[in-house]
């Protein structure tokens, strides 16, 4: 009885979670080899050769990877710090509402807003002018569409750090870290030990799946790098959509080549990160 029910759940899971992905992947794969596509003429490897030869994909991947990594590291670090330092205060009525507010702001609005504030003609540039720090718009430092992706990073961090704060607060409560900490303290542990041996390990272990998930999410982010990024290198989704929507219909398949490679690499990463390993059996 019980097993049957579980299996029904699994079948649903596969129908919703797996089939569309496989179908989309096969579609992209066929498109990348020119098998389908109205402007294509049949099987060819020319799109793959040309994408691999240009090397743009690899630059773009590395660029996206670094940006996502820095953004997630800073956000998780910041959120842990906030959670551990301010947990009690964040439970106040007013603050507990305020900390949810950033969740209501989507990527495109964050990107738009960051641009309005940090561009050379933006709010902070005007402020600097009024304060006499600069005399011309072009003297304002390059903070959006810049080489170090400052604008993108700032947007990403402001988008996901609040989420992690909320998550950690919830885990803190659910896992009864409070009680555990009191217990540890009564057994003679000092505050530092409680943080390092109890709070941090539990928070990170319980949420590592979501942390990696957000890394992947940032790796494929579209709107923010579209507004705040440079024309070269571009983040992956921007590159893919640019290729798919390009003017030269004969080369649309190149976009699907990038999509396929990107999916394969991140899938491989997911396999390495999440695949069951023997030594980990007792973890849960």
């Amino acid at each position: 009885m019980k097993n049957k029910r579980l299996n029904f759940g699994i079948i649903l899971f596969i129908a919703i979670g797996v089939v569309p992905f496989v179908a989309a992947f096969i579609y992209a794969l066929l498109y990348s080899f020119g098998v389908i596509g109205v402007a294509n003429k049949g099987f060819t490897t020319e799109f793959w050769t040309s994408v691999l030869a240009s090397g743009e994909f690899f630059t773009s991947f590395l660029y996206s990877f670094l940006i996502a990594l820095v953004a997630v590291a800073v956000s998780v670090g910041g959120a842990l710090w906030v959670t551990l330092k301010f947990r009690k205060r964040l439970e106040q009525k007013f603050l507990s509402f305020i900390i949810y507010l950033p969740l209501a702001v989507p990527g495109i609005v964050t990107g738009f807003f960051t641009f309005q504030l940090f561009s050379k003609g933006g709010f902070f540039a005007r402020l600097s002018y009024q304060l006499g720090w600069i005399t011309e718009a072009s003297q304002f430092p390059d903070l959006v569409n810049d080489a170090l992706a400052f604008g993108i990073l700032l947007s990403f961090i402001t988008m996901i750090m609040p989420f992690f704060v909320l998550l950690f607060l919830n885990v803190y409560k659910n896992e009864r870290i409070e009680e555990l900490s009191i217990l540890a303290q009564s057994l003679g542990a000092n505050a530092k030990q409680v943080t390092q041996r109890i709070s941090l390990p539990i928070l990170i272990k319980k949420t590592r799946v979501l942390i990696v998930l957000y890394f992947i999410f940032l790796l494929g982010a579209y709107e923010v790098p579209l507004i705040l990024g440079r024309e070269s290198p571009q983040m992956l989704s921007v590159l893919i959509i640019r290729e798919i929507k390009q003017y030269d219909l004969d080369k649309i398949s190149e976009g699907y080549v990038v999509a396929v490679m990107y999916t394969l690499i991140v899938s491989a990463a997911a396999i390495v990160l999440f695949f069951p390993r023997k030594g980990r059996m007792y973890e849960h």
């Binding site: 179908a23 096969i26 561009s119 929507k245």
Partner: protein
């Protein structure tokens, strides 16, 4: 894994079967020759889907508050607007072709030469239909800027909706003598560094075509079919020019704005002082709604800027072709075109041949209020050049990326 196999493969199998369904022929040939009354009759009471760019309130106002109620009242047509421009339209058509959809989601589309070229390439348009429209007789089809789109004869596959010219836009308070040719641009760049750039899109490429025509030595230097040799020699000089001046560009030429709209924002907030665009620069609306400074002016390049038309097309699998023809005919009527020319509204140049109109309409068109800020097309016309063949655009896109952006 066995569960996976049991569920996954049948589903994939069904998908494969689905994708091999028979291709039927949707025959609307009769509409191409039917008398207009019959088309009107067929159009009556239909729901027509119109896909167009919706990024401007003045355009949306014209469509939502004038065109939609008018066609409802006059022809009982329920006109539905969906948002999408060039690439989305092309993607939709390619997707529907791929899936053999006989009755498409969209009937009519608003396109420019770029999209026309792409849609012709995949046989995405239905026609010719323009000759059937009674109001098409009011259009001067002998005008080369109307009957030829990117060096390709229109041949009734799309109906002109408005005509416009590319203009250079500048702030007359901050820039005294805006450049009119490449040597002057050099002077400008040295004097106002960081205030000029090239958008990596349709608009930027159009500017590059003007530059290339100037390097070619005459307004007509790019006319005719694509010439590889000519392109190679002219584009090399163009990239040399741009790369040697890059350090004076916005952000020292290390990056370029993705779209013209971004360039507009940069001009509006004062970062750029010299920009450009179609519709004679799109100045009037942007000044009136407070985006651009009132001192904004526009002009044409000495060797000429591109002049072209934008069009309305009917998709190959449009379910309501008659309805779409009726709506397009209405959009070409003197009434709709006059309303569209309103300087406080959509403010676009009519494609109608004003001289051939009945005298009362002629009078109305001639007394239309003039723009306060932007130039009239009449003032730029002597510096107008035609769109070169589409291959120039394809190559410029590609080479601007490899020769300039990635260098």
């Amino acid at each position: 894994m066995s569960i996976l196999q049991k569920t996954l493969f049948p589903i994939l199998f069904i998908l494969v079967i689905l994708s091999c369904s028979e291709k039927a022929i949707n025959d609307d040939q009769a509409l191409k020759t039917a008398p207009w009354q019959e088309i009107t009759k067929k159009a009556n009471g239909t729901t027509v889907n119109f896909m167009m760019w919706q990024g401007s309130p003045t355009i949306n106002d014209y469509i939502n508050n004038y065109v939609v109620p008018s066609v409802k009242e006059k022809y009982h047509i329920n006109l539905k607007i969906s948002g999408g421009q060039g690439p989305e339209i092309v993607q939709l058509v390619m997707g529907e072709k791929q899936a053999d959809i006989l009755s498409g989601q969209v009937d009519m589309v608003w396109i420019n030469g770029e999209t026309f070229f792409q849609l012709r390439k995949v046989d995405g348009l239905w026609g010719p239909f323009v000759k059937q429209l009674p109001n098409a007789k009011l259009v001067n089809m002998n005008d080369p800027f109307i009957n030829t789109d990117f060096q390709q004869a229109v041949k009734g596959m799309e109906a002109p909706w408005s005509i416009n010219q590319f203009a250079i836009v500048y702030d007359s308070v901050k820039v005294e003598n805006p450049p009119k040719n490449l040597p002057q641009l050099t002077e400008y760049l040295e004097r106002y560094p960081g205030t000029f750039t090239i958008s990596n899109d349709f608009t930027g490429m159009t500017l590059l075509k003007s530059f290339m025509a100037e390097i070619g030595g005459s307004p007509n230097s790019l006319d005719g079919p694509f010439d590889e040799e000519k392109y190679n020699s002219l584009s090399k000089k163009l990239w040399d020019y741009i790369n040697s001046h890059k350090k004076y560009f916005w952000k020292e030429g290390r990056t370029f704005p993705k779209e013209q709209s971004k360039m507009g924002q940069l001009y509006a907030n004062g970062e750029l002082l010299l920009v450009y665009g179609f519709s004679e620069g799109g100045i009037e609306e942007k000044v009136l709604n407070g985006l651009y400074p009132k001192s904004t002016r526009g002009y044409a390049w000495e060797n000429g800027t591109i002049k072209n038309s934008n069009y309305l097309g009917i998709l190959y699998n449009a379910p309501q072709k008659a309805g779409a023809m009726q709506v397009i005919d209405f959009l070409l009527s003197p009434e709709a075109q006059l309303k569209k020319a309103d300087v406080n509204g959509m403010n676009s140049n009519t494609v109608l041949d004003i001289e051939s109109l009945p005298s009362d309409w002629k009078e109305k068109f001639k007394t239309v209020a003039k723009r306060q800020y932007g130039p009239e097309m009449k003032q730029l016309e002597k510096n107008a050049i035609a769109e070169p063949a589409p291959e120039y655009m394809i190559r410029l896109y590609e080479d601007f990326r490899t020769q300039v952006i990635e260098k």
